[in-house]
Amino acid sequence: MIRTLLRIHWTNLRRDRVAQLLTFVVPMAFFTIFALIFGGRGGGVTGRVHLAVVDESHTATSQRLVQALQAEKSLVVLTQARTPHDTTRVPLDRARAEQLVREGRVPIALVLPAGLDTSLARFDGGGVPIQLLSDPSDPIAPQVVGGLLQKIVMSAMPDLFVKSGIGQFERYAGGLTPKQRTALDQWLPMLQAQAEPESTLARAGGASATAAGDSAGAGAREDSTRAAAMSGLAKVEVVPVLGRKQDTSMISFYAAAIAVMFLLFTASAVAGTLLDEVDSGTLERVLSTRVGMTGLLTGKWIWLTLLGMLQITVMFVYGMLVFRLDLLHHLPGFAVMTLFTAATAAAFGLFLASMCRTRAQLGGISLLIILVMSALGGSMFPRIFMTEAMQKAGLVTFNAWALDGYVKVFWREAPLADLLPQVGMLAGFMVVFLVLARLFARRWERV
C-alpha cells in the first residue's frame, strides 16, 4: 500500500511542472540571489563606499589625508563636482557635498575643517572635529568611513602621532636633549616617507584592501568597524543632513518595501480571476456580449490599480498611526508614487495572468517571479546595502524604481519633479506589461 502511495506521489510530481519548479528551482533561485547579495559575487568592484570629500583646511596635512583616503581601496573618493549650470569641475564645498548626499548620489561626505592640523592625533579629545555628513538611510556608511578614517590617520600619518606624543612627553616629563631632538628630526621625515599612500599605506593596509576586494566589501567594512572601535585618533562628528530620524526613515522604507511586495502578490492573485473566468466559461460569455477583450482588460486594470492604491495607503496609514511614520507631510509625493506603483503592479499582474494557462501555473510562476523581483528590487533587503553590481541588476525590476521613488519622497524630501525618472520608468514598465498582456490575451478572442 505504501509503495502504491509513493508511486502515485512520484508520478504526480513527475507530471507537475509547477510543483517541480516550486520544489527545486525556486529554492535554488533564492539561494543564488541571496548568495549574490550577501556573498559579494556580483562581479566588478563591489562594496566600495562612495565618499565626497571637502577640504576646508587646505594644508599639507589635509592634502595628505585626502590622498590617503583616495588610496584606500574600500572608498571611491569624490573631491570635485560639476557646477550646476556648467560642465567644468570644481573642488567640492560643504554645500555641494550636502546636496550630493541629499540627492542620494553619495551616502556620505567628509568635511576636513579649517584647523584640522591642530585636531589630528590629539590625546585630549580637543580640537575641531572632522565632520561626516550622512544620509540616515544608510546607517552603515558613517561607521565604515569613520573606521577607515581612524585607520588611515594612524597608518598614513604616523609622524603626526610621534610629534603629538613627544609634545605630550615634553609637557609632562620634561624636554628632550639636543641629541634626542636631532635624532627625532631625522627620523620623522623617514616615518612620513614610509607612510606615503603609494608605499607604506598599500603595504600596511594591504590586508584590509585585499579583504575588501575578496569579500566584496563585507571584509573591509568589518575591518573598518573594528578600527573605529579600537581607536579615537581623529575626532569625528556625524551630522545627518536630511534632518530625519533614522528609525522613522527605515519605517517608511519598509512600509513601501513590504507594501510593494504584497501589492505584487495581490495583483497577480486578483488578475488570476481572468483564468477562473476562462475555466468557468464566464470570459467566453462576457466576450460574446458588447464587452471586448480590451475593455475587459482595461476594467480589470483600473480595478487592480484602485485596489493597489488602497492597499499601499492602508499600509502607510498603519505605519503613521502605529510607528509615527510621517505620511501627512509627504502626501503629494506619496500620491504620485502610489498611483504609478499600483498601476504598474496591476499591469504586471495582468501580464502574468494572461501569460499563464492555468491558476496553478500562475501560482508557481508568480511566486517565483515576485520573490525574485522583491529580493533584487530591495523589498527584502535595502538595495543600498547591496553590491554595486546587484544594485544595477535590481534596476531591471520595476519595484526597485518604485522603492527608489518612495525613498526620494520620504527620505530625501525631494520635490515632485525629482520623481520624474522613477515615474517615467514605472510608466514605461506599465505600458510594456499592458501591451504584453493584451497580446497574450488574444488567444481568448475569436479563433
Binding site: 468557468s280 466559461g281 467566453e284 460569455r285 460574446s288
Partner: protein, 303 residues
C-alpha cells in the same frame, strides 16, 4: 419566417475540419434541436453564431441580414453549458452585470432584472450570493442572464444538464413563455428524450456535416422506417435465434420491427411459442429519436 440562416459554414482547427459546410435555418418562434455526438461540430457552430469563432467559409444571416465576424450580436442571446456566472455575486447582481454587458442601462435594466427574477422564480432569493444556490437555481439564472436584453434568437447549449426533473420542467416552462412571445430557440443537447418531446425540428450533425434534418416523424421515416419496434422479454433464453428478432443482453430480451402490428406481432408471438419459450413482458412503440440517432451516427465511441 426564417430568422437565422447558416449557409455552408466551414471551419478548420489545424488539420481538424470542425465544420464542413453546415447549413440550417431557424424559423420565428421555433425550437430547433441541434444534435450530434461529441466532437460533431455543434459547439463550434454555436460559437460561430455567437461571434466567437471566425468561419473559414460560409455565411450567417440574422433577420435577413448577413453578419460580419466582428459585429456585436445584439439580437442574439447566448446561454452557455457552463454556469458562467460570478459566484460571489447575488442573483440580482449577476443579472445587473450581464444586462449591463449587453447594453441595458437605468430603468430598462431594472425592469428587465425584475422580470428575470420573476421569470426564474428567484425573486425571494435575489439578494443571496449564488454559490448558495442549488444546481437548478443556477441553471435558471444562467439562462436568464442570456435573455435579459430581449434577444429574438437564443442559443442554448445543454440548458438542462445536471438538473433534476422538476428543474428541467421549470426550465422548459420558461422557454415556452419565451417562444409564446415569438422568440426562436436553437437548442443543443444530448438529452434525446427532451429533444424528441420539445423540439419542433431536429438537425443532426456529425463530423462537421448535417446528416439529417426535419421533424421527428420525417427523421424516423427517412432512416429507420415508419413501422413500430417490438421488444419482448422471455422466461429463458431460446436455444436457437428467433426469426425477425435480434437478442440483447443475456438472451432473454429480443427486439425487432413490426410494420403492421395486427399481422406481424401475432407472427412474432407464434415463433416464440414455437421455440418453447413464454413471454414475460412485451412493448410495442414507435422508433425513438435515439434509434434514429444511433442509426445515423453508429454505436462506436467517438472519444
Amino acid at each position: 419566417m426564417t430568422v437565422l440562416r447558416v449557409e455552408n459554414a466551414k471551419k478548420a482547427f489545424g488539420a481538424t475540419q470542425a465544420l464542413c459546410g453546415v447549413s440550417l435555418e431557424l424559423g420565428k418562434g421555433e425550437l430547433l434541436g441541434l444534435l450530434g455526438p461529441n466532437g460533431a461540430g455543434k459547439t463550434t457552430l454555436v460559437r460561430a453564431l455567437a461571434g466567437r469563432v471566425r468561419l473559414d467559409g460560409g455565411t450567417i444571416e440574422l433577420f435577413g441580414r448577413r453578419l460580419s465576424e466582428t459585429e456585436t450580436r445584439d439580437g442574439l442571446g447566448v446561454v452557455p453549458q457552463e454556469i458562467a456566472l460570478y459566484p460571489l455575486l447575488t442573483a440580482r447582481e449577476n443579472l445587473e452585470a450581464f444586462g449591463s454587458f449587453n447594453g441595458l442601462r437605468g430603468s430598462a435594466l431594472r425592469d428587465r432584472v425584475a422580470w428575470a427574477l420573476e421569470w426564474t422564480g428567484l425573486s425571494e432569493r435575489a439578494r443571496e450570493p449564488i454559490r448558495r444556490f442549488s444546481g437548478g437555481m443556477r441553471r435558471r439564472l444562467n439562462i436568464a442572464c442570456g435573455v435579459l436584453h430581449e434577444p429574438r434568437v437564443i442559443l442554448l447549449d445543454e440548458p438542462t444538464v445536471g438538473v433534476d426533473p422538476q428543474s428541467r420542467e421549470r426550465i422548459y416552462e420558461m422557454l415556452d413563455r419565451l417562444r409564446a412571445n415569438g422568440v426562436s430557440l436553437l437548442l443543443t443537447t444530448h438529452q434525446l428524450d427532451e429533444a424528441e418531446a420539445r423540439c419542433e425540428r431536429i438537425v443532426i450533425v456529425d463530423r462537421g456535416r448535417v446528416i439529417a434534418a426535419g421533424t421527428l416523424g420525417e427523421l424516423v421515416r427517412d432512416t429507420v422506417g415508419g413501422g413500430r419496434v417490438v421488444t419482448v422479454k422471455l422466461d429463458r433464453a431460446p436455444a436457437a435465434p428467433i426469426e425477425g428478432l435480434a437478442s440483447e443482453g443475456d438472451g432473454t430480451i429480443w427486439r425487432g420491427p413490426v410494420h403492421d402490428v395486427d399481422v406481424d406481432l401475432a407472427a412474432v408471438l407464434r415463433r416464440i411459442a414455437a421455440a418453447g419459450r413464454s413471454v414475460v413482458d412485451l412493448e410495442v412503440r414507435q422508433p425513438s429519436l435515439q434509434s434514429v440517432f444511433l442509426h445515423l451516427t453508429g454505436r462506436e465511441l467517438r472519444e
